[in-house]
């Protein structure tokens, strides 16, 4: 028997596998395939204070071992989420992570207050979305603004606060230290890397937004490196993500320093991916004589 339980900033997860924000909607589409309680937690689609229509299409392009997306945070807004999604989601027997983005510090604070309600277990502050101009990403690329966003959320909620970091920076460890200093209880990483693809016949970008965020197996080694760097720089627990498609990938992110692992792009091609990856992670532990999955976290020894 492997003890699959892990702790993420005081939130007890039944296992380390979480759905990554934006790839799982609010869970309804996947609840048809398995009980959401099979997952350690669900990270819901990124919210903004008011609903957003998102970017014009095409919003998705395939890449070697991955994909680009430029959804641009299409979402129903905080009010729509609280009214139409949360009442259902909180009856599904899983932990709920609410992912939020904002354009100003005041908006982050206001959202934190509105979202600190019964049923929500953890707030994930997205300061790293590459698809919305002058928002999100702008906060995530400088230590001072990253800290300001963290602090705004932290001071307006009783819930644990996790901050989601972008790999599109020179030193991700520096940003991590800044958000930890501002009170973050956990850090999630990585969000997508900026990329672009061209339709050769039209000589135009495939994405209407021109650029988009790269995810999928192509980014796995970037995620491992970023998690490793951040694990060495801070004490707070990490939710690792980026390109995880198998239980072994999840184990790799945990060895690099993640306490739990989110699965995103893999769900798009395999709706069963999170459950399969959880089972594979358990098998990995069994075959390696590991009795507690949490012992994997940070067990890497560098040369």
């Amino acid at each position: 028997m492997v003890d699959m339980r892990v702790d993420l900033a005081g939130v007890a997860l039944s296992n380390p596998i979480v759905s990554a924000s934006g790839t799982f909607g609010f869970g309804r589409e996947y609840a048809k395939f398995y009980a959401l309680g099979e997952l350690g937690a669900v990270s819901a689609k990124g919210l903004t204070l008011h609903g957003r229509p998102g970017n014009p299409g095409p919003r998705i392009a395939e890449t070697p071992s991955g994909m680009l997306n430029s959804v641009g945070l299409q979402n129903p807004g905080v009010e729509g989420f609280l009214r139409d999604e949360l009442p259902w989601l909180k009856t599904q027997g899983t932990k709920i992570i609410v992912n939020l983005s904002a354009g100003t510090v005041e908006e982050f604070a206001q959202m934190a207050e509105l979202l600190s309600v019964d049923g929500v277990d953890l707030l994930e502050v997205n300061i790293s979305c590459p698809n919305v101009k002058c928002e999100g990403l702008a906060f995530g690329t400088r230590p001072e603004t990253a800290a300001a966003a963290t602090e705004a959320v932290k001071s307006h909620t009783h819930l644990p606060v996790m901050v989601k970091l972008s790999p599109n920076v020179t030193s991700i460890a520096e940003i991590a230290r800044a958000v930890e200093g501002a009170g973050a209880d956990a850090i999630s990483l990585i969000n997508t890397l900026l990329g672009m693809r061209i339709d050769l016949s039209t000589r135009r970008p495939i994405l209407k937004n021109n650029t988009g965020g790269l995810s999928g197996p192509a980014v796995l080694p970037v995620a491992v490196r970023c998690i490793h760097d951040v694990y060495a720089a801070v004490k707070v627990p990490l939710l690792g993500m980026g390109g995880v498609e198998t239980g072994e990938d999840a184990a790799e992110l945990m060895m690099a320093g993640a306490s739990a692992v989110a699965v995103g792009t893999a769900i798009l091609s395999d709706p069963m991916a999170p459950v399969r990856i959880r089972d594979e992670l358990k098998e990995f532990c069994e075959s390696h004589g590991i009795s507690e999955v949490r012992s994997l976290t940070g067990s890497l020894e560098v040369w």
Binding site: E29, G57, E62, V71, L268, S269
Partner: protein, 252 residues
């Protein structure tokens, strides 16, 4: 209800332009309705490929696809006995109809019209192709429909001209309960306009690049005119791919 099925390939063939694959799955065949699509995993590629259901016979479903890029090339190399990882049937298809329906297909938009023809009691069709060598299912449609007009851009088969001309001519000759169309966007637009002029309701199947196919990732969103006339983003995979012509924002 959607299924994830490892379905055996029972027949497969490929020409220079199109590939045809038949798979066996009682679940998918039982659930499928015209206008819905299958989301097919192509080994070695990140994203599934959305392909319309071209027909159902017993427990078998057929898809017909243009060999365009890497995924459809991989698909075109499948052989009987291979297994395909299929998610489906997905999306909202065409509505049910008791009266006569005019089916309009352009190029690889013809296969879903074939599935419509299999299920409808009374239908005619306009089938449009670039040229004779790209014609598809013309005999099969002839057997299922009362009247079929074939059109090609270059006149190498049937009448020379675009689909909408054939549509306008058919609508002038007979009374139809509805027009169902699938094909290039410009063909859908001109077909819708011809149907609107004739006062016949029209449904069109839209094509968008897709991720999950289930309504979760929002990568396939397409602008649609809501009930109040305001533009809203709808998921082509779940709310569509079939929409009413009036709902579509044609130049959006």
């Amino acid at each position: 209800m959607e299924y994830i099925i490892n379905a055996p390939v029972t027949a497969a063939s490929a020409g220079p332009v199109y590939g045809v694959i038949t798979i066996e799955s009682p679940e998918l065949a039982g659930e499928a309705s015209p206008g819905q699509f299958l989301h097919i995993r192509c080994e070695g590629y990140q994203l599934r490929r959305p392909i319309s259901i071209a027909g159902v016979t017993g427990n078998r479903l057929t898809v017909i696809f243009e060999i365009k890029g890497k995924g459809t090339r991989w698909l075109s190399r499948r052989k009987p006995g291979d297994v395909l990882d299929v998610l489906g049937p997905l999306g909202h298809g065409f509505p049910e109809a008791g009266g006569k329906v005019l089916l309009v297909g352009g190029g690889v938009g013809v296969p879903p019209m074939h599935f419509c023809a299999q299920r409808l009691k009374d239908c005619d069709a306009v089938l449009a192709f670039r040229s004779k060598d790209r014609a598809l299912l013309t005999e099969e449609m002839g057997a299922l429909c009362k009247a079929v007009t074939v059109m090609t851009d270059d006149g190498s088969l049937g009448e020379k001209g675009f689909a909408a001309q054939g549509v306008a001519a058919m609508l002038a000759q007979d009374r139809y309960e509805a027009v169902f169309a699938c094909g290039p966007k410009i063909m859908l637009k001109t077909t819708f306009e011809a149907a609107r002029t004739a006062g016949v309701p029209c449904w069109v199947s839209l094509e968008e690049r897709m991720g999950c196919g289930l309504g979760a990732c929002l990568t396939c969103a397409t602008p649609i005119r809501g009930a109040d006339g305001q533009k809203v983003m709808k998921e082509a995979c779940k709310d569509g791919p079939v929409f009413r012509g009036e709902e579509v924002i044609w130049d959006g």
